[in-house]
């Protein structure tokens, strides 16, 4: 049996799953320290044998985003870019918010190294230069280091060699190499590596706290964290790469919706209290955003689901004349402020109750909401959700739509652009289910000159590297398959230079052996 937990902004949800069967579910308020909310949710779903039969706990959490937003527990961090003499105009951390930059110390260095697009060195590593940087970092009390190198996804040797050098000079420093988070775009990749480096201690501490809490409940099963792309990482990997867990909520919710509905290709509409998130699933995984993603004001190239959010949910405030729904929401104060709970704010939930779509609070308190307002409001909600669904779709063909989340009753079942609308049972804990059922994966992105090595060899090499990364992340080797393979020809370049991206996923090792 598995336990899935999703720590959201308002609620911490947990589910107990035996294979495909949901045995128990719980919703608890998210606590300030996160851990006690997780413990409360775990306690509610633990089977009678106090955890002996649990094979794994899968956790999706907002820990790390909160640490960045609150700037708590972040390590004094240095960024070392291997690139000289290139890229000097835009030094590391160039577009960071000032407060976050000072919260992590903001020590930046540029040194010789890095590669051209075709693998030539821009310049060789200079260990005298690196030695001076190490001295200065020690003087500044640096505890974490992010290494970036120009074209390190093509050739990571400089990052690795310089990283190993700093590790010898500063044995206690936590070092993140930018090539390990993959993508092209040095500023965004370097930012992601820096966020990861500064979160190092938070990652280790929070994982340790959750492990201790699990042990106090008698849970000795391994802990896994959900990543932004819908796959899992084991606790050792998560402690090294907390940044990969930074926004797993929407992904978990979409994956859970797919699981509950039995669909692998569909549009998921998650209607929460304040926002509605809409995303597309392809082969059971969320489609990834092609644009840069901002985390705590920092531009990154994380593997994030392409989710469109609108400020519309069960707590959205309804202004009757002229009719405006949201963006203001009563949020977590729904049970004090909504009319059906005796408050004096007209919310989308009140409209749902007045229209007989939902049974919460006291329906007599909304009996004076007139039927024309009710109808116009529901039409407006439907129109806005349909518009977002249409933005998320990749083709004009009708697609299945899966509705989940507490506010999903606001959306009617005949939707433009849908060939069917499903509202699966347990949609209120789709996110925790998504965490529980996650697989493990590996992703690589590299530039090849197909004139030099040939397309077949390039594809074979990138496939095997993606599979290797999935296995390293804990996948059962025989179950791993390549689920995405993209080729992007680079314009203006001779030699048929092509960027190839591959992603492999497989079942978690323990599930098959257990």
């Amino acid at each position: 049996m598995l336990i899935g937990v999703d720590v959201g902004g308002t609620n911490t949800d947990a589910v107990l799953m035996d294979g495909a069967t949901l045995l128990a579910k719980a919703k608890c308020p998210t606590s300030g320290d996160v851990t006690s909310g997780v413990v409360a949710a775990l306690e509610k779903v633990l089977p009678n044998d106090s955890g002996q039969s649990i094979e794994g706990v899968m956790l999706g959490t907002t820990h790390f985003t909160n640490a960045l937003l609150e700037q708590k527990g972040l390590a004094p961090t240095a960024v070392v870019r291997l690139a000289l003499p290139a890229t000097q105009l835009l030094p590391p951390l160039v577009d960071w918010p000032d407060d976050l930059k000072s919260a992590i110390g903001g020590f930046t260095y540029m040194a010789s190294g890095g590669h051209e697009f075709d693998g030539r060195e821009i310049s060789s590593l200079d260990y005298t230069e690196l030695k001076k940087i190490a001295l200065d970092m020690r003087k500044n009390g640096v505890e974490a280091i992010a290494m970036s190198g120009v074209f390190s996804p093509v050739d990571p040797t400089h990052e690795r060699q310089a990283g190993a050098f700093f590790q010898r000079e500063m044995p206690h420093a936590q070092i993140t190499l930018s090539n390990e988070n993959g993508r092209m775009g040095i500023l965004e990749r370097e930012n992601a590596a820096t966020l990861n480096a500064c979160l190092g201690k938070v990652g280790e501490n929070s994982i340790r706290a959750i492990k201790q809490a699990m042990e106090s409940l008698g849970l000795t099963a391994p802990l896994y964290l959900s990543q932004n792309d819908g796959t899992l990482m084991d606790e050792g990997f998560a402690a090294r790469f907390p940044v990969f867990a930074i926004a797993s909520g929407p992904t978990n919710s979409m994956r859970g919706a797919a699981y509950l509905s039995g669909l692998t290709d569909c549009i998921v509409v998650d209607v929460g209290g304040t926002t509605t998130d809409v995303g597309a699933l392809t082969n059971g995984f969320p489609r990834e955003a092609s644009l840069a993603v901002n985390i705590a004001g920092v531009r990154t190239n994380f593997r994030m689901p392409d989710v469109v959010s609108i400020a519309l949910g069960g707590g959205s405030i309804v202004n009757p004349e002229p009719l405006v729904i949201g963006p203001e929401s009563v949020g977590f104060r729904l049970e004090e402020q909504a009319l059906v709970f005796g408050g004096n704010t007209l919310t989308a939930t009140d409209i749902a109750v007045a229209g007989g779509l939902a049974q919460v609070g006291d329906p007599t308190l909304v009996s004076e909401v007139d039927s024309s307002l009710r109808r116009r409001s529901l039409e407006e909600i439907q129109r806005r959700v349909e518009t977002v669904v249409d933005q998320v779709k990749l083709s004009p063909d009708p697609v299945p739509i899966v509705l989940v989340g507490g506010g999903s009753l606001l959306v009617g079942e005949s939707m433009t652009g849908a060939d069917q609308v499903l509202r699966p049972d347990h949609g209120d804990v789709a996110n925790a289910i998504g965490a529980a059922i996650a697989q493990v994966g590996g992703q690589v992105e590299k530039v090849f000159s197909l004139e030099d090595i040939g397309r077949g060899e390039a594809l074979a090499s990138i496939r095997s590297e993606a599979i290797g990364r999935a296995v390293a992340a804990g996948a059962e080797p025989t179950s791993v398959e390549v689920v995405e393979l993209d080729e992007i020809p680079l314009t203006y370049l001779p030699g048929n230079v092509t960027l190839i991206r591959a992603k492999a996923v497989g079942d978690l090792g323990i599930l098959n052996s257990g």
Binding site: A86, V94, L187, T491, Y492, L493
Partner: protein, 356 residues
């Protein structure tokens, strides 16, 4: 005359994104680089071409290379070195710089060497929009020489091409050098007199881009229609309004060619527009009939926010308004059309000026 500061960069980027007719690439890094140069070296004077005095020497600077490489090996300050090389070669100091195009990050490139050298930039450019190929500049069409040309990398290497027999050769030699330099370089070309600038460049385009960007930002702030705001700043019209329903792309000879289909909404319901592009939008057809052809400008903006949409970012579902603007007369003359008319891009189609 005005002074370009950090505060203007976003507006110029939005405006240049619209005038870029779908090309110009990701503006983020270009904007960040210009901001950094202005922070380090101070603001730059933007000079009205009418105010250039007789002894002026105006040099065109820009970036050359693969945009996909430029996000990794971010372009440095090498336009400054290319500029100095042209000065050494001609034995004449530059008195001002000029952009080669008013689309994407190239419209901001001259600000970097200008800030470093303490020179003004001229409020004009060599396209009045964006175009995919090197020879497609009004300067060249109207008699300014391609050479000398200087190309510099970030390491200190510079290549000077004193002569090329035609634009194709100039392009070929420049590209060979650029690839050796790691596919991210800057060039300085076409030293011009005041008379040449006034006669061969598209005038006041930096101001136009800035005003367009300001108008869009103001409209967003006041919750007004950004499309109407754009049309108040520049003479043109709405060609179509609808939703992107299909995008097809292929890479041909190093360029992103393709087409998109847009289903009409509101006043254009039950109509369809097809647009063909080669990095930039070239031909717009409504229900099969051409309504706007290159070199006239076919500009896509997101209907609600007025945000320019580049061809790379296009995909199903975008709500877009398509704007058409007349091309400058430097392009619509026979010499101009020979280089950038529909036939120059392989279409068996006459150029018909857009009706506004």
């Amino acid at each position: 005359m005005w002074t370009a500061t950090e505060e203007h960069l976003e507006s110029i980027s939005i405006g240049a994104g619209i005038l870029g007719t779908g090309g110009g690439g990701n503006p983020y890094i270009g904007q960040l680089r210009a901001r950094q140069a202005l922070r380090e070296h101070g603001p730059v004077t933007v000079l009205d071409p009418e105010d250039l005095d007789a002894g002026s020497q105006v040099v065109c600077v820009g970036g050359i290379g693969a945009p996909t490489v430029g996000i990794e090996k971010v372009r440095d300050r090498q336009a400054y070195h290319a500029l100095r090389a042209i000065e050494d070669f001609t034995g004449k100091k530059a008195t001002a710089l000029i952009s080669n195009e008013i689309g994407g990050s190239n419209s901001l490139e001259p600000l970097i060497p200008a800030a470093m050298a303490g020179l003004p930039v001229v409020d004009a450019d060599g396209m009045g929009r964006a175009f995919p190929e090197f020879q497609m500049k009004t300067f060249f069409v109207h008699g300014v020489s391609y050479c000398p040309m200087a190309i510099s990398d970030e390491k200190g290497n510079t290549v000077v091409i004193p002569n090329a027999i035609n634009a194709k050769w100039a392009e070929r030699l420049a590209r060979a050098a650029t690839i050796q330099m790691g596919c991210v370089a800057c060039y300085a070309i076409a030293p011009m007199s005041a008379e040449q600038v006034k006669r061969t460049s598209v005038l006041h385009t930096l101001s136009l881009a800035r005003n367009m960007g300001d108008a869009v930002k103001m409209a967003r702030k006041n919750q007004q229609n950004p499309v109407e705001a754009i049309l108040k700043v520049h003479h043109g019209r709405i060609l179509f309004n609808g939703k992107v329903v299909d995008v097809e792309r292929r890479t041909v000879g190093g360029f992103a060619r393709g087409s998109m289909a847009i289903d009409g909404m509101d006043a254009y319901r039950n109509h369809r527009m097809d647009i063909e592009f080669q990095n930039e939008n070239l031909i717009a057809r409504q229900d099969g009939q051409p309504v706007c052809t290159v070199p006239d400008l076919i500009c896509l903006v997101e209907t609600e926010r007025g945000e320019p949409i580049t061809t790379e970012l296009l995909r199903y579902g975008f709500r877009v308004t398509i704007l058409g603007f007349p091309a400058p007369s430097l392009w619509t003359c026979p010499e101009g059309l020979a280089v950038v008319g529909p036939r120059a891009f392989g279409y068996d189609l006459e150029y018909t000026p857009i009706e506004v």
